[in-house]
Symmetry: C2
Subunit: 479 residues, 2 copies
């Protein structure tokens, strides 16, 4: 997996950090955070925190004590050990888009189906640069609502041999995910020792955790499965319009969730989550790839390190409806800060379109190219005497060219990044080839990848046990 | 103009810098640099440097003495003083694309004309984010070759009131540019005191300066007009394939040119230039917006600061043939490091397409959006108590929304960047509006800008004198 050993780009001064620190302490103490779960409220009450109705007024130092129980870094196991990942430090792991109810293929935008889900899982498996298909890579609208988490988890477990995310729609779904993971990995005790899932617990920002998310959090934490505590902030709607206020709110929300996770199971792996962008103040529409989201991301990395926590942020976000120039630059406007900030767990790395409502096949290819390019760009140069190629200058001379130089011949296959999608064909050649733009070329690439896909091997007994589990649970759930 | 007071992103260690330092010293001393100009060779010989045929073997310490004579920062005057710029320090100035023989409008790619040149000059004038139309914003192929520098300079002087670049095709053209600038600004003594042009002197990399470029350099430096000494490096062709080698070569070339400039006129303003990308090793095509070019750009900024020189780099480069997703991400793949490195003079900021062969109308709009966004992103946050919006949290409460909060109402007009091109319309609304992608919307934007264009006022007597000069010189040149 990728290790980002380049410098972090830090933009908050010590004074700024102190102001933010005072801010979250005050917000936590005076406004508090709502937890819509009797179990959560009971845990906080038992730990000596003030609880009024559903609101918990947390002592900041108590919260920091809980945060200190979380590991700074941890591993998540894939069924193919070569694909297991490390979360934290300089490690960066990349998962595909999460949550879209629609898909876009070329000019067609339509409801996502289970076939789409499977196709995207195959694509995620096919590109080594992705560490995971994520979780809900798109919503399989043609499957029954109550049991589709079983279909999705089975698809992720069988079509990929990479790590996958747990379902969080309810505590029931979380339990099913844990049971299926126990089957795949050989028992619950094994996954408790070496976590096999990551699950996304979103805050109902501002300052409220809802019941189903909390049910899921509790299930996963009891099983020692990592949870990503994510404030879900579109500035102007779910937070004040000022970035510092959004950062303070983000800290307050994330740390409150992390404190709960540690009360459920001390030492449970957690990730400081961030989903931070803004709305268009004229239309109220969410916007992505904005300057504000870029700044927020850079700050979030610095903040997470301040608390000694791995963090989740970034991705290839865009508001664009199609994989056009806007989709390209907005995706990179988020992905570049993702690397500069050294995000550890990067959701929405591939396929995000139309504000996350659409999983785009072509956009998936665009984004894989971007992640590949950035991994190359964030690899330190090796600068030594040999790299200076003095002899090549002697060989080539003034005004010459290096195409045939010995130094070039020895390195030409690997010296530069080789694009997946980008074209540098000259105009005449490009026109002879049909004059295809990036989106059109992306169609060919994903279709070829799907045609070439090979399922990773899986023990038949395990596959049968998983399928039997799904069949039984589907019946129990009435679907 | 824009001041980038955000931190610089520096990626070279002290050890790496020392290795590069040893490298350029050796290259300069042992391989030397060719100067195809008797005058240049004479200046170097007179200064005690070893000259063999056209090759000058330069003493590195002598070169550094010359470099130390150049100002670290300087101003360039525009005829509208509000548009004058500062070069160096934390200032960043942006000029449009330079040099394309072709233009692209929608689906049409064709030879550029003088009408295109004028249209792009008007666009550069119309977007405040651009400090200059640059110089050869496109090649006016329908005008006579020998006198087109007069037409271009006149267009830049009259259609814009921003700074402009000098023509460098020959010493004759440079002299004409200087004379026209003297007319516009009220005399040669005035422009010698407050420079009115910037001129691009490209190296014929590797390690050779050609005669016409040197003639131009000498003319401009004698008139105390700033020159940008630019190694023109596509790694694999004009330099070895290793980035450190390209960096060493770039230092060698740039410093050798800067030394000459200081010999011509000590204290003449200079800019450490960089045009650094790579070729595709399969096809030999130039590629832009690559990871290698991004790394090179970050290193170049650090190197220029090491020598105490302002630097030129970056822009909105792409290999893409059309303003598609690739064009969007490649442009940003260069522009983001441009800001991270704090480039002082950013050429090719708008309109660059197809490896610089094409000036794209739609691409121009895409790039203006990118520069605008990055200027916003590279503006430091103000973090104080008021920015934390504590009262807004008290007003809104848990799980509420901030759309109607007092804090929001007071700030909603200016709180977020307002896009020029990007759309966040929801799908239904976007489809009702015709489902236009970014390129299609860009067409409308540039056409509207041209329709709205108003020429900046210019004294009639000056205009007449400029026109008379052009008429006279055109006749003298036989066109």
């Amino acid at each position: 997996m990728f290790r980002n050993v380049m410098p972090r780009y830090e933009v908050l001064s010590q004074d700024a950090m102190a102001t933010l620190d005072a801010g979250w302490r005050r917000l936590l103490t005076e406004v508090g955070v709502q937890f819509a779960s009797p179990r959560a409220l009971e845990l906080f009450r038992a730990a000596g925190q003030r609880v009024e109705d559903e609101t918990v007024f947390l002592d900041p130092d108590f919260v920091l004590e809980q945060v200190a129980k979380a590991p700074r870094e941890f591993d998540v196991a894939a069924r193919n050990p070569a694909n297991s990942i490390h979360i934290g430090g300089d490690a960066m792991a990349f998962g595909a888009v999460y949550g879209p109810p629609f898909v876009r293929e070329g000019d067609v935008r339509r409801d996502a189906t289970m076939a789409d889900f499977r196709a995207f899982a195959k694509l995620a498996q096919s590109f080594p640069v992705l560490d995971s298909a994520g979780g809900v890579v798109c919503e399989p609208n043609d499957t029954p609502l109550d049991s589709r988490h079983l279909d999705m988890t089975l698809a992720l477990q069988t079509l990929t041999d990479k790590i996958y995310m747990g379902n969080v729609v309810s505590g029931v779904n979380a339990r099913d995910t844990i049971e299926m993971s126990s089957i795949l990995f050989g028992g619950r005790d094994l996954i408790e020792r070496a976590p096999a899932t990551i699950s996304l617990i979103n805050c109902n920002s501002p300052l409220r955790w809802d019941d189903r998310m909390l049910e899921s959090l509790i299930e996963y934490c009891e099983a020692a499965q990592p949870v990503v505590l994510t404030p879900f902030i579109l500035m102007g709607a779910m937070s004040p319009v000022t970035i510092p206020a959004a950062l303070v709110q983000q800290i307050t929300e994330a740390l409150s969730g992390i404190a709960l996770a540690q009360l459920v199971r001390p030492g449970c792996p957690v990730i400081f989550g961030s989903f931070l962008s803004n709305i268009d103040m004229q239309s109220g529409s969410p916007t992505f790839g904005t300057p504000e989201s870029g700044i927020g991301l850079l700050c979030t990395g610095q903040i997470a390190r301040h608390f000694g926590l791995p963090f989740r942020s970034g991705g290839a976000m865009t508001s664009s409806q199609v994989p056009d120039a806007q989709a390209g630059y907005e995706a990179l406007m988020t992905l570049m800060p993702t690397f500069l900030a050294g995000a550890n767990w990067v959701m929405h790395s591939a396929g995000w379109l139309e504000g996350g409502l659409v999983a785009g096949y072509e956009k998936f290819v665009v984004d894989v190219e971007l992640v590949q390019m950035l991994r190359e760009e964030f690899t330190p140069l090796e600068i030594d005497e040999a790299s200076l190629a003095f002899d090549a200058h002697v060989e080539v001379g003034h005004g010459g060219h290096f195409l045939g130089a010995m130094h070039t011949m020895e390195r030409f296959r690997t010296c530069f990044y080789r694009p997946l999608l980008s074209s540098s064909e000259n105009y005449e050649r490009w026109m002879r080839g049909g004059g295809a733009d990036a989106a059109t070329r992306a169609t060919r690439i994903y279709q070829q990848k799907l045609a070439d896909y090979e399922a990773p091997p899986l023990d038949d007994a395990i596959r049968e046990e998983l399928e039997a589990f799904v069949t039984r649970r589907r019946a129990e759930l009435g679907d």
